[in-house]
């Protein structure tokens, strides 16, 4: 009766020892069941969507459609990536769509009316984005007008600005081969493979170095087997994608050969990696999360909240500029509708569907890409269904709800398991 046994301190102990692969996998499943779903719900929604469309229209799973998906979703995804920064702060940018229109118009005017070389024109467009971001950010952070109102005003003003730039409604063609190539041309197949190899190698190296560094300091590090599994999965999926995109997808191979990874894909990937690094691995990114999570705590920690806010708006507008350039490239023209109609709602929707919170403090750039994929798949699939205007709207709405519903139910199940 008096024999006291040592109490199990498993949890504490487990955190200390370097976990094995089995352990880690078990941990992952537990985390999933525990509610830390990461990207899984969005991916689930995406899979359900794709299966539905594939079942309805076999053309959906052709390699040409796969390639189309990327170019169709690129602009919205890029804008959504920038919006993540603003949303992380709990702010909103309603003007991102028309900001992309303004930047695209600047690009078009520089290219087609002033005859400047493409790199100057692109620089001009991005610079316009910076200026827009500084103005919006200052009004929100320094003057203290709610971002909804500032960007609603900008939403109106930028429509006027686009109209001024494109001369009250004319449609400016873009014929610069470099710009047009961005959204309409592909990488040569060998370059696709080379990039693939480079990316996988760098990813593996970074993972290994980090684990080495941590275990050298005696901190819990991931086991080699887990890193191997992760790198392997990435290599497999990416390899498959590159392979499919490198297949001949021309309707008429004799006439024209259409192969290779669309140029927008490495553009999106590079920006995804860049912004993910910024958010996850720099002090600036940390501060963005802090301001979004608890502005007062961030201020008390000595963070220059105003500067963080302005920077986020600058990043958002810059990404809008990039999105505008891609949109202009894809349409090979700029008109007063560029960046208008549904672009903004789709972009914010993409970020939110991916899991970014409108209240700030929660979200990742990857979310925007996943959400952008959902939006692109819906638009792409609906295009294949060939419905009339009214039915198309109705079905698009329902499909969006379906994808979001799968996601919400997955999260809800997890939340019921304990975490919220």
């Amino acid at each position: 009766m008096n024999q006291v046994k040592e109490l199990p301190g498993e949890a504490v102990a487990a955190a200390k020892q370097s976990p094995s692969l089995g352990n880690s996998l078990r941990g992952y499943v537990e985390r999933l069941r525990g509610g830390d779903m990461g990207a899984l719900p969005a991916v689930l929604g995406l899979i359900v969507l794709c299966s539905a469309f594939a079942a309805a229209r076999p053309a959906f799973v052709t390699s040409i459609n796969f390639a189309n998906l990327f170019t169709q979703g690129a602009a919205v995804t890029l804008i959504a990536m920038g919006l993540v920064f603003v949303l992380l702060l709990g702010e909103i940018d309603l003007s991102a769509g028309f900001a992309s229109g303004v930047c695209a118009a600047v690009l078009a005017v520089a290219l087609s009316e002033m005859g400047l070389p493409w790199y100057v024109a692109v620089a001009g467009a991005i610079l316009t984005g910076v200026v827009i971001g500084v103005v919006l950010g200052t009004l929100v952070a320094k003057v203290g007008i709610p971002s909804f109102v500032v960007t609603l005003a900008a939403f109106l003003a930028f429509q006027g600005l686009v109209l001024v730039l494109v001369d009250e409604g004319t449609n400016i063609s873009i014929r610069d081969p470099v710009i047009v190539a961005v959204a309409n041309k592909n990488l040569p197949p060998w370059l696709g493979w080379a990039m693939y190899a480079g990316c996988v190698a760098v990813f593996a190296a970074v993972q290994l170095l980090r684990a080495r560094n941590r275990s050298r300091r005696g901190l819990a590090a991931e086991p080699l087997s887990l890193i191997g599994a992760r790198v392997g999965t990435l290599a497999l999926i990416a390899g498959l994608a590159v392979y499919v995109l490198n297949l001949e997808r021309s309707r008429n191979p004799a006439l024209v050969s259409l192969t290779g990874v669309p140029i927008v894909v490495p553009v999106i990937l590079a920006l995804l990696v860049l912004w993910t690094l910024v958010l996850r691995r720099t002090a600036f990114g940390r501060h963005i999360y802090a301001v979004g999570g608890n502005t007062e705590a961030a201020r008390r920690a000595g963070i220059a909240v105003d500067r963080i806010k302005i920077s986020a708006f600058v990043i958002c507008s810059c990404m809008a500029a990039v999105g505008g350039v891609v949109a202009a490239s894809r349409a090979s023209s700029v008109d007063p509708n560029t960046g208008g109609s549904s672009v903004l709602l789709y972009a914010v929707g993409a970020a939110v569907i991916g899991g970014t919170s409108l209240f700030g403090g929660k979200g990742r750039v990857l979310d925007a890409v996943l959400g952008g994929a959902v939006v692109a798949v819906i638009e792409n699939g609906m295009g294949l269904m060939g419905y009339g205007a009214s039915v198309k709207y109705l079905v698009t709405g329902s499909v969006l709800l379906l994808a979001a519903g799968v996601d919400a139910l997955a999260r809800k199940r997890a939340a019921a398991a304990g975490l919220r």
Partner: protein, 254 residues
């Protein structure tokens, strides 16, 4: 001896409500100064004024004998004033390590030195005898009340500061943890810092403090050496603003 931190005649109103009336307060290097007062006496408000969170209406703050302007928490940090606020002010969406280094992240070139920060955080936390935290990569939203408080304290003592102000740091702590924090408070003062401790627990106050300052309804009731007063006197100062010779006369400190 000049006090390291001193406030002279600080007034502070929230709209129509005047919360601080000409408050005088000093804290000396190498000493623990206890700041006591009833609920709503204005202790936290005074601390927030010193920390640059609330602008003051009148009066001045002196640091090491010089008058200083503290317009933002940044200014306070630059002076070397580190504060644990009563309402803790942690970012619920960040984990323990991220919160502890918030605003002063360690870097490796452009990128964050995550491993370094994790190591240091672990060491500081374990010195505060927090045994039940499962992982220091846990989000602070999932911490218990005492664990949150420990994180906030650990965050404040991690830096090379000159003044450390702790607003009811042991309110949510267990017996062992409280002892640890009081010991830490003493240790900090012994290394030459000026430590300000706000507490409602008279035992703790008498255990570690060198001086006691009492606020009553937003007014400085008394500033005395701990050795010169008794338990009962301090309680009287807190609840009625005066005790014998000590305390408020005609609304001013003698």
């Amino acid at each position: 001896m000049t006090p390291l931190l001193e406030t002279r005649g600080i007034d502070k109103s929230f709209g129509p409500v005047k919360v601080l009336h000409k408050v005088e307060f000093s804290a000396y290097a190498g000493e623990v100064t206890a700041l006591v007062g009833d609920n709503g006496a204005g202790k936290s408000t005074l601390v927030k004024c010193v920390g640059g969170i609330h602008p003051i209406d009148a009066g001045a703050i002196y640091f090491d004998g010089r008058q200083v302007q503290v317009n933002s928490p940044r200014d306070a940090g630059d002076l070397g004033i580190e504060i644990v606020y009563q309402d803790l002010a942690l970012c619920d969406n960040l984990d323990i390590v991220q919160n502890m280094f918030l605003g002063r992240e360690r870097r490796n070139g452009l990128l964050l030195d995550e491993a370094g920060m994790e190591e240091l955080a672990e060491r500081t936390l374990s010195s505060l005898s927090v045994r039940t935290v499962k992982s220091i990569r846990q989000q602070v939203s999932s911490l218990s009340g005492g664990q949150r408080q420990t994180v906030a304290i650990a965050k404040a003592v991690l830096w090379n500061s000159k003044v450390v102000i702790l607003d009811e740091p042991t309110a949510a702590l267990g017996v062992a943890q409280t002892a640890q924090v009081l010991e830490l408070v003493r240790r900090l003062a012994d290394t030459g810092l000026a430590v300000v401790l706000i507490s409602h627990n008279m035992n703790d106050v008498f255990a570690v403090s060198d001086r006691i300052a009492a606020l009553y309804l937003g007014r400085t009731a008394a500033q005395v050496r701990t050795a010169d007063v008794t338990h009962a006197q301090v309680v009287e100062l807190i609840t009625s603003g005066r005790s014998g010779d000590l305390g408020l006369k005609n609304g001013v400190t003698p």
